[in-house]
């Protein structure tokens, strides 16, 4: 089903005309209201009036996560705080999170986009949506929630955790649509089995799974285990949250980017040069309707490609392929973004510990586990077991508090973590997606 028949099926020419008008508008507005953008545009020697075609977009400078950090917390907001009605945040590369804001109209836009995404999965007013994305600063929970209400469906704001109770509620309330991370979907299926609830007896028809990378193999597993159609949904808080793009149930092949609100590009992550359709590179997105937190050419660091071929579903919006990796060292662990540099900051704050560490990510059954190996130098060493174990617990606690992710800390002997060409190999990702 198509939620917004008019905008989702616009002929390309009309769509591009709308994009250009909205782009000009956004560029003018950020130049006038956000000192950061004015400075960057000036340095690049480009004025808002230079944007005469969509092709001129590439003349504008990129915006990076570092820029967001430098302007922490509200420096990139394009409206006064009294017009901001909501704030979300996600992990930054160090201790400070990346902060984004929404006006009332931004919340409307986001709700509409999520309503479109749910409709693309076949959801209607009659559906019961079991929303197991986390509610809070993370955009997943509230993003789906508002979209479900906009669509007129019944939403169960179950959030994360307490899996057995989730299964009872999913069964008793007759949920028809499931929204959560793909790994949690598999975990739900596993726990349901253990509880003697045959997942196939549930009423689930479809699920929207996102916030972490997954694969076609995982899609098959989820569909088999939960007897539903599993669809990929993409988004990031810096752009708006979930609802940047979504797969349609008709084609199940690539995610339609809501192009009346976002302009996607693919660039070579090393040179920054735009790449033609079909080529794989880093996804760059410009928002063209957002008020509180517009972003110009935001480098998502997600690696994918764009497919302009018409889709059987009738939507004219371009599709992006499944995200296959990152152009930086960010890890996504149980839906939480983790940068090795964040772990480093946590270690730096513990006096006796030296920042020689390695992250090992594994998938045990259906859930990701993070193990942090930390070298024990003379300062941290004690001949008493309990002191070393307390140190492990302390690091684990700090990681949980600062990053919101549970990790197992394991002390290792000094110089055992490989230091390849002076730079340690920080991450070993053993997950086979």
């Amino acid at each position: 089903m198509i939620y917004n028949m008019e905008f989702e099926t616009l002929p390309r020419e009309a769509l591009e005309a709308i994009q250009l008008r909205r782009l000009k508008n956004t560029v003018e507005r950020v130049y006038a209201t956000v000192p950061f953008y004015r400075k960057k545009f000036d340095e690049a020697g480009v004025k808002p009036s230079d944007i005469k075609s969509l092709d001129d977009l590439k003349r504008l400078p990129f915006t990076t996560k570092q820029d967001l950090r430098d302007n922490y917390p509200f420096g990139l907001f394009a409206v006064p705080m009294e017009n901001v009605v909501r704030i979300h945040a996600s992990s930054g590369t160090t201790g400070k999170p990346t902060v984004v804001g929404y006006t009332a109209r931004d919340i409307d836009t986001w709700s509409e986009l999520m309503a479109r995404a749910l409709a693309a999965a076949g959801a209607t007013r009659g559906d019961i949506i079991h929303n197991a994305y986390g509610y809070g600063l993370f955009t997943g929970g509230l993003g789906v929630h508002y979209g479900a209400e906009k669509l007129g469906a019944s939403v169960i704001p179950i959030s994360g955790g307490n899996t057995k109770r989730q299964i009872m509620i999913m069964r008793d309330f007759g949920a028809t649509i499931l929204t959560c991370t793909p790994s949690y979907a598999l975990y739900l299926a596993e726990v349901a089995q253990e509880m003697g609830v045959e997942p196939k007896t549930l009423k689930l028809k479809a699920g929207l799974f996102g916030a972490e990378p997954w694969s076609e193999k995982m899609r098959d597993e989820i569909e088999e285990a939960l007897n539903l159609v599993a669809l990929d949904i993409y988004g990031l808080s810096e752009i708006i949250g979930p609802g940047v793009s979504v797969e349609c149930i008709e084609a199940k092949k690539g995610l339609h980017i809501f192009e009346d609100h976002f302009i996607p590009e693919i660039i070579d992550p090393d040179t920054g040069e735009p790449l033609p359709y079909g080529e794989t590179g880093e996804l760059v997105i410009t928002t063209i309707t957002k008020e509180a937190f517009p972003v110009i050419r935001y480098r998502t660091r997600d690696i994918t490609s764009l497919n302009p071929e018409p889709c059987v579903c009738g939507r004219t919006h371009i599709r992006m392929n499944r995200v296959t990796g990152r152009s930086d060292d960010m890890l996504i662990i149980r839906g939480v973004n983790v940068f090795p540099s964040q772990i480093e900051s946590v270690l730096m704050e513990i006096e006796e510990v030296e920042p020689h560490y390695q992250l090992i990510v594994e998938r045990e059954g259906t859930l990701d586990t993070l193990t942090v190996l930390v070298e024990v130098g003379e300062q941290a060493f004690s001949d008493e077991v309990k002191k070393l174990q307390n140190l492990e617990r302390k690091i684990e606690k700090n990681i949980k508090e600062y990053l919101g992710v549970s990790a197992k800390v394991k002390l290792v002997e000094p110089k055992t973590i490989a230091r390849s060409e002076g730079k340690a190999k920080r991450v070993i990702d053993k997950r086979k997606l």
Partner: protein
């Protein structure tokens, strides 16, 4: 009346203990007493050797994390109740034992107990006052 003990951090992996003993053997170090505390991830090897400084140096040069702590060595008769007598004394004085280990002397008549206390001086004082034979470091290293 303190005794120096070296402790070494060891990951739980095959062959690590042998590497420690190899380094010590090559440095001509004689081990007097030894204990190994272990968890699922790591172990702490505690050693009393004939030459603490030399052993520490050799291990450090080979990349081990080495610590030095002060422990107390006590001699008791090698017969039932020997250890219990000592522990009763410590209990009465409210002295906490962090850990301990023991070995039997070559002569076979006496056992040596090695104690790690949180308050070493206080512990020595109590032991001596109660007539317990506390062994000098020098004596132990060359036993």
């Amino acid at each position: 009346m303190r005794v120096e003990q070296i402790s070494i951090f060891l990951e739980n992996k095959a062959g690590r203990l042998a590497e420690v003993t190899k380094v010590l053997a090559e440095a001509g170090i004689n081990i007097r007493a030894l204990s190994l505390a272990d968890t699922s991830d790591f172990g702490i090897l505690r050693l009393i050797v004939n030459d603490t400084e030399k052993a520490k140096q050799a291990l450090k040069e080979n990349g081990f994390t080495v610590g030095k702590t002060t422990v107390v060595a006590v001699e008791v008769e090698d017969k039932p109740g020997g250890l219990n007598k000592i522990l009763e004394i410590l209990k009465k004085a409210g002295i906490n034992v962090e850990y301990m280990y023991a070995f039997v002397q070559q002569s076979g008549n006496n056992a040596v107990l090695i104690f790690r206390f949180d308050n070493t001086d206080e512990a020595i004082k109590v032991l001596v006052e109660n007539g317990v034979k506390v062994i000098e470091g020098k004596t132990l290293y060359s036993m």
